[in-house]
Every structure is written in structure tokens, then in C-alpha cells.
């Protein structure tokens, strides 16, 4: 007949508006967590698969020292006893267009005659290229482009298109955004067309071990051999990928967790706001004999039903969201991880589902306690609103906020990026908790002030609205808090994105003195820029200033840090170490270079002096690189250049930069004068040119002339603007995941805002009826409610922006501090905080619109009710 389940179900069914709105809060929370988890898992799995396939089927990969002869190293390695075989591979990256679409060709030279080589690649069909003129393509690329075995594939090299016959398709893992094409050719092809300089052309020696041999022990033996820079085992490579994904994952879980907090606040607010209306309901139950436990049980039962139902719907919504995001990612700018297959794991689903139910139960804990304490007479006469007085104990919120801020300042002490993310999240959570406790102390007086101000000025609706807000200050501040949490989260992400984007702009602005850059995107043959070409460009009548840049790799053999030789950390990952000790070096003309471009020096460093001094035995060091190695100005490094020529230099200053080209932006680790590069390091080949045009000269003509001059080389001419766009794109890439999160956050918090406002209105149907009963018009009701909604959400948004800014600034400060010691956490060259003005304006506009919508839908419903109906004592 009647059971507690039926009673709760009936409550939920009949109070549809309330149920749906509370459910929406749960749904949003679960959906955002689930979709974030799905994307994180999918990205991890894709990268893992890609990494594994990319590594190939070898047991070890030996990377020879740039200075050593790779062939000799391969021979030495092959002579070891425990080795089954050794194959040599050379890789070369070059971009080119196919039907107007830009592809990144990863051209791999393989030793087709080597018996071991044939075992290193997993052919899905056909065979490896056996002679010059044959090619095997990666299976996914071939599938996307519709290539088949036996057909001709035209490889668009800069030096001219090459026609190759397709002999096989190779499974080399999921494609990365379908713009990366694996092209496998016979070694002679690379020798003929590929880059001569090995510095930009990673060659590796693939080693297959005899059965039962331990990868690591042999790797250690090889590492000790002459001319070997690095040995990576298959197991380590995989662990490396996993480790590198761990921080991405933890970032996602952190965002997911924050989304959960937002969702939880929503749920809590929903229950909290409805508690006032439910006071009568539960008072009645108590009057006829319900005890507190029974009342609480009823609340929990409702929460469980809600939690189960809407968490399940949330899962579905999360699934849709992740499909939508996958679609966005795939249609977006190329260059990102292409999550072609979503990995939907039951683990992620269970975590999200439990999180939803957990959050629901957690959120009703306090409301249930309150409901348990409701006086039996609550149904019969309005109770004195003891809860409306704001308790002084809320000042404790301030202490909690301070504790959270302290923790945020200190979060970088965690020993790895996963723990750092977790700590940062915990700190943010604690701050929010404090804010939620503390805000009523501000909001109450704020609305009182508003009431006092508006009483004199505005019409009936304004008076009523401000009266309502100030009289019900606890409810108002609860709504404000709920909005605040969502908005500040959105704002935090926006701030993060804006700052990251502005890094590129800021540095480019410093460099905005040239008109044209002549550069190449590819790892190609040095010299790109011959002495003759340089002379010809200088001779152009449009050119005012021309300077060349010499970009190459050196090896660092010794670091003198503050007078003592430095040892590397054991914990550093090997690839990073390899990069750190073979940094890119830029040889520039200290007189001309600052006139066409510049570097970004820390505050207090006199740039002009630095450039003047660079003629001496000095280098400038990239700040990030230097900090990773704990180097400071005044420290010394020994560099090894071409042909083993080496010399010690002192670090003159630290700098930040975006290089002209896009090869690798971390290659600008060191800057040196061109004379010194030639004299001490034997580096004499130029790679790029910067051109400043004469005033009034025709840019288009200059471009056309330069194009003519560079015909047949790998060079391209780019305007400053094109470079700027490229940098923007470059910055956008690492921001893509955060910006997806941003979308989720915006969606969740705006829906949450509608939700909060709507619940507030829904629970006041009686009040609205009363206004109408005493002669209020529909318009007045609408205006009052809309005003209240806008005022509430504006207060929430203002505080949200303030708190978001506060958290962002502190977070950036501590990330900067963390970057001094842990550069791998965030690899931005400069941490600049930049206020997202546009986003803020947009946010305010959206908030106003959305809050009006959130208020007017339920008002419409409420307006349909006649005064008598609304006032009828249920």
C-alpha cells in the first residue's frame, strides 16, 4: 500500500520541477567527471598504443652521440654476444601538401637487406620496400587516403615530388590526428634525399636481444660504450609514456574533481533551498508521529533514488559529451592527439557513478540533519527563522581560506606532478569550502546595503527584489555561493588559458622588428641558408637589414654550477636528460640580431649591455633550460661543437624566446655570437634569415623575389604575422585539453546557475501567489524575480571572478616557483598572468542572460497559477 520507497518516489514524481532541477545538478556533476575521465583514458590509451607501435618491436633503441659515427656505434653494438641482431634506422621529418592538406611525413629509412629489420615492423599486408623507389606506408594513413599496394604514392618533398611504388602497409599505431604519415623507405633513399646533418635527424639503432636476456642489464652495458648517448628499453619507453601521461591524467582528474565540487555545491544548494519549503512537509510528518530518524531516512531515500537515477543519466550525458568533444578535437586544428577511438572503461563509469551517488549523499547530509530537527509545529505555524540569522562562527571560514591559500603556495613541495595536482586540488577545495562558509557574512550586509540604497530610487519591483534578497540573506548567500563556485572555476580555467596564450604574444612583441623570416619547418639538410643566398638576399633593393641565424645542436659535457661540478638527478627521465645535454644553440650576430628580433630578458637585465658583451666568451641561456639544470648567470658550461671542438663559456644572462622557425621551440636553449660559434665550435652554417624591409618598399614584391631565390631549397618565406599565428597555434595545442575542460566548466556552471535560480523561484510559488493576491501584476512578478536573479548571479559572478583571479594568481606564483625546481610540471617559458578581459565581459553578459532565463522559465509556470491556487493550503 504505502512504503517509504513509494512515499519518496511520490514526492519526487509530484514535485517534478524540484526533482528535475536537483537531478540536473547530479547529472552535470557525473557527466563532467565521466567525460573528462573518458577523454583522459582515451588519450592515454591512444598515446600508449602509439608509443608502443612507434617504438617498434625492438627490445632496445640505441641513440648514438651526435658527434659519433652512428654506423660505427651500430657495428660495436652488434658485436656484443647477447644480441640477436641490430638494425639501423634513420628518421627524417618533412612537411608537405597532398591535395592542399598539410601532412607531416615521418620518413624512416630502413635497412631492407637486414634480416633483423624485417622483424621490427608489423606489416598488415605486403612487404617492406626492398629497393630505391619503393615505399611502405602506415596502414592508418593509407586507409585515410585510400592508398593500396601496387599503386604509386607521390611524396611531396621540397626538393621535388618523388614517385614511389607502394609495397606494403605497416601497423604503426593509431594515427596522430591523421596528419602524421609514416613513410618507410629503403635507406639509400634517405641517403640520397634526406638531410646530411644528423643533428636534426634522429638515427637509432634497433636492437633485438636473444631470448631470455634482460633488457636493462644489456642496456646498461651498451650505455657505457663509446659514442652512445642513450639506450631506451622497450619496457622503459612504455613506462615513460605512462609516466608522461600521468600528469595529464591527474590534471584531468583534478578538473574532474573540481567539476564534482561544482556539482556537489549545486546539489547541496538544491537540497538546501528546498529545505525551507519542505519545513512544512516534514513538520506535518513529525506532528503526526514521525521521529527525526524517520524523517532523515526519508530524505536519504529520496537522495538515493535521485542519485541512482540521475547518475545513470549523467553517465549517458557524459558519453554524449565525450563523443562531442572527440568530434571537436578531430575537426579542430591538426597537430593534436587524435582520439579516434574513445576508450570507455567500466572503471571510469563506476568511478563517476559512485562519485555522483556519493556527492548526492554527502550533499544531503547537512540538509537531512536540519530536516531531522524540524519542529513538529512547523506545519501549523511559521517557525521563527533561527536559520536566517548568520552565525558568527562563519568567521572560521576565513581561517579555512587562509589554510587553503597557504597550501596552494606550498603545493609544489610534492615530489611528483601527480601529487602536485592532487595537492593543488585539495588546496583549491579547501579554499572553496572556506569561501562557502564565509560568504554569507559578506553577502548579507551587501544585500542589506543594496536594499537600503534601492529603497529610495527604484519602483515596486526593485524594492521588493532587494527586500527579498536582504530579508532572506542566508538563502541569497547560499545561491550566491553556488554560483560563485561555478563561475570562479570557469574563470580559473579562462585565466589559465589567457595567460598561456599571452606568453606567446608577449615574447613575439619583443621580437616584432622584422618583416619577413626565411626559415624551414622541417628537419632538413644544413645549411639551409648558403653564404651565397645570404648575400643575394642582402643585395635585394627592398631589404634594409638582413641577419642570419645559425641553429644547430651542441653537446654539453660539463656544468660548473656556482663553482662546483654538477650531478644530474637520478629521477630525471632519460629522454629529458638527453635533450638537456644536447641543447639547441643559436648563433646570432649580436649587432644585427637585436635590431630585427630580440630575446625576452628577466626584469632588471639590461638587454643592450648583454648584446654588447656577447662578443666575449659568453652564452645566453634559455631560462627554462637553465633552471632545469639549476644554472645561474655566472655559471660555466663546456660545449662540444662540430668535429669534437670544444670550449668553456660563461652564462651571461638568462632569457626566454620563441624561435623564428617552428622546428622545436626548446631548441633555443643557448645563444652565442656567430664569431664564437665559428671560432670555438666550428659551427658555420646558417639556418634562417630575418629581413627588415625598407620603408615604403613593396612587401609582396620582396616576397616574390625571395621566393625566386629560395626555389629548390627547403626554405619558406613567412611574414611576421604568419609566424605570430603559428606561435598562437603552438600555444593553443597544449591548451586544447584545458579549453575542452573550460567548455565543460562553462556548460556546467551556466546550467548550474539556471538550476540554482530556477530552484529558488520554484520554491517560492506561494510567495509569488501572495504578491499577485495583493494586486501585483504578472509583469511586476516577472520583473521582481528577474531582478533578484540578476542581482544574485551578478554578486556570484563578481565574487567568482575575484576568487578565481586570486586562486589563479597564487597558482601561477607557485607554478613559477615550482618551475625553478620542477620544469616538467608546466613547460611554459614565462609564466605571465594575464587577465582574460574578453572572457570576463562575455561571462558577465552570459550570466545576465542565463540568470534571466533561469528565473523566467519557472516564473512563467508560477504566473500561470492563480493567486488562490498558489495560496491554497496544501
Amino acid at each position: 500500500m504505502l512504503s517509504i520507497n513509494r512515499l519518496s518516489a511520490r514526492q519526487l514524481l509530484v514535485r517534478k520541477g524540484r526533482t528535475i532541477l536537483t537531478g540536473l545538478a547530479i547529472m552535470l556533476g557525473v557527466a563532467s567527471i565521466f567525460s573528462l575521465l573518458i577523454i583522459a583514458t582515451s588519450a592515454t590509451m591512444t598515446l600508449e598504443r602509439y608509443g608502443r607501435a612507434n617504438f617498434g618491436f625492438a627490445d632496445l633503441q640505441v641513440v648514438p652521440d651526435p658527434a659519433a659515427d652512428p654506423k660505427q656505434v651500430a657495428k660495436d653494438v652488434a658485436s656484443l654476444t647477447n644480441i640477436e641482431g641490430v638494425a639501423f634506422e634513420r628518421q627524417w621529418m618533412q612537411r608537405g601538401d597532398l591535395d592542399g592538406q598539410r601532412f607531416e611525413f615521418h620518413i624512416k629509412g630502413i635497412e631492407s637487406k637486414n634480416a633483423v629489420a624485417s622483424r621490427l615492423y608489423s606489416l598488415s599486408s605486403g612487404h617492406l620496400p626492398k629497393r630505391d623507389g619503393e615505399v611502405a606506408l602506415s596502414a592508418t594513413f593509407a586507409q585515410v587516403r585510400g592508398y593500396q599496394i601496387g599503386r604509386i604514392f607521390t611524396l611531396p618533398l621540397k626538393s621535388g615530388a618523388k614517385k614511389l611504388k607502394i609495397t606494403g602497409l605497416i601497423n604503426d599505431g593509431p594515427s596522430i590526428n591523421s596528419v602524421i604519415a609514416g613513410v618507410y623507405v629503403d635507406m639509400p633513399f634517405i641517403n640520397k634525399f634526406g638531410p646530411k646533418n644528423t643533428a636534426w635527424n634522429p638515427s637509432s639503432i634497433q636492437v633485438v636481444l636473444k631470448k631470455g636476456e634482460s633488457q636493462r642489464s644489456i642496456a646498461s652495458r651498451i650505455e657505457k660504450m663509446h659514442g652512445v648517448a642513450l639506450v631506451i628499453t622497450a619496457d622503459e619507453a612504455l613506462a615513460d609514456i605512462r609516466r608522461s601521461m600521468a600528469s595529464t591524467r591527474s590534471m584531468f582528474s583534478m578538473f574532474g574533481a573540481v567539476a564534482l565540487v561544482v556539482g556537489m555545491t549545486l546539489i547541496y544548494t538544491a537540497f538546501g533551498i528546498t529545505a525551507a519549503e519542505r519545513e512544512r512537509e516534514f513538520g506535518l510528518l513529525k506532528a503526526i508521529g514521525a521521529n527525526s530518524r524517520w524523517a532523515r531516512r526519508l530524505v536519504y531515500r529520496e537522495a538515493i533514488i535521485l542519485g541512482l537515477l540521475y547518475s545513470a543519466i549523467g553517465l549517458l550525458l557524459g558519453l554524449c559529451l565525450s563523443f562531442a568533444f572527440m568530434w571537436i578535437m578531430n575537426t579542430g586544428e591538426p597537430g593534436n592527439i587524435d582520439v579516434t577511438a574513445l576508450s570507455i572503461t567500466s572503471e571510469d563509469a563506476i568511478i563517476s557513478f559512485l562519485a555522483g551517488i556519493g556527492a548526492t549523499l554527502f550533499s544531503v547530509f547537512l540538509p537531512a540533519r536540519k530536516i531531522g530537527k524540524i519542529h513538529p509545529l512547523a506545519a501549523i505555524r511559521p517557525q521563527p527563522k533561527s536559520e536566517q540569522s548568520i552565525s558568527k562562527t562563519r568567521w572560521a571560514g576565513l581561517l579555512i581560506i587562509i589554510a587553503g591559500i597557504t597550501m596552494l603556495f606550498k603545493f609544489s613541495i610534492a615530489n611528483n606532478s601527480t601529487n602536485m595536482a592532487a595537492m593543488a586540488f585539495a588546496a583549491v577545495f579547501i579554499i572553496y569550502l572556506g569561501v562557502a562558509i564565509f560568504t554569507p557574512l559578506i553577502i548579507g550586509p551587501l544585500f542589506n546595503l543594496l536594499d537600503w540604497l534601492s529603497l529610495k530610487r527604484v519602483g515596486a519591483a526593485g524594492k521588493l527584489a532587494s527586500k527579498n534578497l536582504s530579508a532572506q540573506s542566508l538563502r541569497s548567500s547560499r545561491m550566491v555561493t553556488s554560483i560563485l563556485v561555478g563561475i570562479s572555476f570557469v574563470f580559473l580555467v579562462a585565466f589559465f588559458g589567457e595567460s598561456a596564450a599571452s606568453i606567446g604574444h608577449q615574447i613575439l612583441k619583443e621580437q616584432a622588428k622584422y618583416d619577413l623570416a626565411i626559415t624551414s619547418e622541417d628537419e632538413g639538410t644544413l645549411p639551409f641558408v648558403s653564404k651565397e643566398l645570404l648575400r643575394k638576399v642582402k643585395g635585394l633593393k627592398e631589404a634594409e637589414l638582413v641577419t642570419s641565424i645559425r641553429l644547430d645542436k651542441v653537446k654539453v659535457t660539463k656544468l660548473d654550477v656556482q663553482g662546483r661540478e654538477m650531478k644530474m638527478d637520478k629521477g630525471f627521465n632519460k629522454r629529458l636528460e638527453q635533450n638537456l645535454f644536447t641543447p639547441g644553440i643559436n648563433a646570432v650576430d649580436p649587432k644585427l640580431y637585436p635590431k630585427l628580433s630580440s630575446l625576452f630578458f628577466p626584469k632588471g637585465v639590461d638587454g643592450n649591455r648583454v648584446w654588447r658583451q656577447l662578443h666575449g666568451k659568453y652564452v645566453l641561456a634559455n631560462r627554462n633550460w637553465a633552471q632545469t639544470l639549476r644554472l645561474k648567470p655566472g655559471d660555466r658550461v663546456r660545449l662540444v661543437g662540430k668535429g669534437g671542438k670544444s670550449e668553456e663559456f660563461e652564462i651571461l644572462a638568462l632569457c626566454d624566446t620563441f624561435l623564428v622557425g617552428t622546428r622545436h621551440w626548446e631548441v633555443g636553449s643557448l645563444f652565442i655570437s656567430q664569431e664564437n660559434a665559428k671560432k670555438y665550435l666550428n659551427l658555420n652554417e646558417d639556418s634562417d634569415m630575418l629581413v627588415k624591409l625598407k620603408k615604403g618598399s613593396d612587401k609582396a614584391v620582396a616576397i616574390a623575389k625571395i621566393k625566386q631565390l629560395i626555389k629548390g631549397t627547403q626554405l619558406e618565406v613567412k611574414t611576421h604575422k604568419q609566424i605570430a599565428d603559428m606561435v598562437d597555434k603552438l600555444m593553443a595545442e597544449p591548451m586544447l585539453f584545458p579549453s575542452l575542460t573550460f567548455n565543460i566548466a562553462v556548460l556546467a556552471s551556466l546550467l548550474g546557475l539556471i538550476n540554482t535560480i530556477a530552484i529558488g523561484v520554484l520554491e517560492r510559488r506561494r510567495e509569488i501567489g501572495l504578491i499577485k493576491a495583493i494586486g501585483g501584476t504578472r509583469g511586476q512578478v516577472r520583473l521582481t524575480i528577474a531582478l533578484e536573479a540578476v542581482l544574485t548571479s551578478l554578486a556570484g559572478t563578481i565574487f567568482g571572478v575575484l576568487i578565481g583571479t586570486g586562486i589563479a594568481v597564487i597558482l601561477f606564483k607557485s607554478i613559477s616557483a615550482a618551475n625553478d625546481i620542477k620544469p616538467t610540471f608546466f613547460y611554459f617559458p614565462v609564466i605571465v598572468t594575464s587577465f582574460p578581459l574578453m572572457a570576463t565581459v562575455a561571462l558577465f553578459v552570459m550570466v545576465i542572460i542565463v540568470s534571466i532565463i533561469g528565473a523566467l522559465i519557472p516564473v512563467r509556470l508560477a504566473n500561470k497559477i492563480t493567486p488562490v491556487e498558489a495560496l491554497r493550503f496544501e
Binding site: 500500500m1 503526526i288 508521529g289 519542529h375
Partner: protein, 244 residues
């Protein structure tokens, strides 16, 4: 004697703002007795009823039901007491709007952890007693005021309480409906012997009682025993006296 109030005092507020809603009220209710409480507005009638029903805290004094002092009961015991011993009827019906008539009646049994079959039987009986057989699946919003009050009465008696407390049960009803409700209440009393304490402003309704207690300023100022005969004139003059 089913119920006894001894020296009941109830005051609201603190310090100079203290309002004494009840000031030393002592009374007894006999088994099966029908008592009406009358008095001007604000005289403490509802307060007295709430204290007798364990709905509100007592400032000082005692309420004994079946010899047991309810002032010493803990929250959960008090809830049980309300559920088992008391049937409350309010002026404004106070039904749970999302539940049907019969489900509303079943509520106290549900809180009691009653078996489904027992619940069904008792609810059926109560609904039948108040004459709502055809309307048991209706929601409160689909019922007239008189019908809603019948549902409330059924809910009050379903647990077979020892005493029914009714605060102006006919206050919202027209005279025809009001008389029907009164007939119903006095029949119930006659059938199952429950004591009834009813607050009313209406002498006609009070005339159904065995005894009328007059309250003023939180004190009992008079008592009238009606020997089954209704002496309207005397009653009205008494009322007037109490109002002055």
C-alpha cells in the same frame, strides 16, 4: 482518567518580551470524555492543545497521559507517543498533498513499521468509518474541504489513539459540513470510546461536548458541564463573559 495537565505554564520569548501563553493550567480528561475548549483569540487554546499532544516543549508543569509523564520523554519517544496515543486534527487539514486519501491515512502506520496486511485492514476500517469509501484514491486537491477533514480524522484514528486532539476542526467548513464532521466525531467517541479535546469558537460545535473549558489570558476561567442538553443561551452568555 486518560489525561491530566498539572500547573502547565508556557511562555514565549525572553526577558521583558516574555509572553505567557499558558499560566498555570490544570485540568483532567476522563476516559471517553468529549471536552471543548473555548476562549477569545490569543487566549492559549492552541498552545494548550499542542502541549497536551507533545508537539511543543513545556515551560513548567506536567502532562500525564495514562499516568505517564510525557514531559520527561526523549525526542524519539515523544514521536512514538504522538503516533500511538494521540490523533491530531487541524483546522487546515494538513494532508500530504502528494499522497492519496488512503495513503495519507496509512502514514502513521507506515512510521510505525506496520505490516502491509495490517495496514491495509486498518486503513480500510478508518476510511469506512469516516465514510470515504469511494474516494480513497483521490488526492487532497481533488477533495472538498469536508472530505479532506474526514481524511484527516481517519488519519487521526487509524492508530486507535487514546485521545483525539482537534484544533478548530470545523473552522474552515460551512455549517452543513461542520455538523457532519461533529456528528462523525461524536459517533466515533461513542463507538470506540476515545476521549476528544476540541478547540472551537462556535458554541454550536461546543454543544456536542460533555464539558466546556473556558480559557482567557492563558488561564482557565470557567468550566461548564453539559448534561447532553444544549443550553445555547447560557453558553453564549458564558462566552460573552469570557470575552469581556
Amino acid at each position: 482518567m486518560i489525561m491530566e495537565a498539572i500547573g502547565l505554564i508556557k511562555s514565549y520569548g525572553e526577558g521583558s518580551a516574555t509572553v505567557k501563553a499558558l499560566d498555570n493550567v490544570t485540568l483532567q480528561i476522563e476516559d471517553g470524555e468529549f471536552v471543548a475548549i473555548m476562549g477569545p483569540s490569543g487566549s492559549g487554546k492552541s498552545t494548550l492543545l499542542h502541549l497536551m499532544g507533545g508537539l511543543d516543549s513545556i515551560t513548567s508543569g506536567q502532562v500525564k497521559v495514562n499516568g505517564r509523564d510525557i514531559t520527561t520523554l526523549k525526542e524519539a519517544e515523544l514521536a512514538r507517543f504522538r503516533r500511538k496515543e494521540i490523533g491530531f486534527i487541524f483546522q487546515s487539514y494538513n494532508l500530504v498533498s502528494v499522497l492519496t486519501a488512503e495513503e495519507n491515512v496509512a502514514l502513521p502506520l507506515l512510521m510505525d513499521g506496520c505490516k502491509e496486511s495490517v495496514m491495509r485492514e486498518n486503513v480500510g476500517k478508518a476510511i469506512n468509518l469516516v465514510g470515504l469509501d469511494g474516494r480513497s484514491h483521490h488526492r487532497p486537491s481533488q477533495l472538498s474541504g469536508g472530505e479532506q477533514q474526514r481524511v484527516a480524522i481517519a488519519r487521526a484514528i487509524v492508530n486507535n489513539p487514546s485521545i483525539i486532539l482537534a484544533d478548530e476542526p470545523t473552522g474552515n467548513l460551512d455549517s452543513v459540513n461542520a455538523e457532519e464532521i461533529m456528528d462523525l466525531l461524536s459517533n466515533l467517541r461513542n463507538k470506540s470510546g476515545q476521549a476528544i479535546v476540541m478547540v472551537t469558537h462556535d458554541p454550536k460545535m461546543a454543544a456536542y461536548a460533555d464539558r466546556i473549558i473556558f480559557l482567557k489570558d492563558g488561564r482557565i476561567i470557567d468550566e461548564e458541564r453539559l448534561g447532553g442538553k444544549i443550553d445555547q443561551k447560557k453558553l453564549v452568555s458564558k462566552l460573552k463573559g469570557s470575552t469581556n
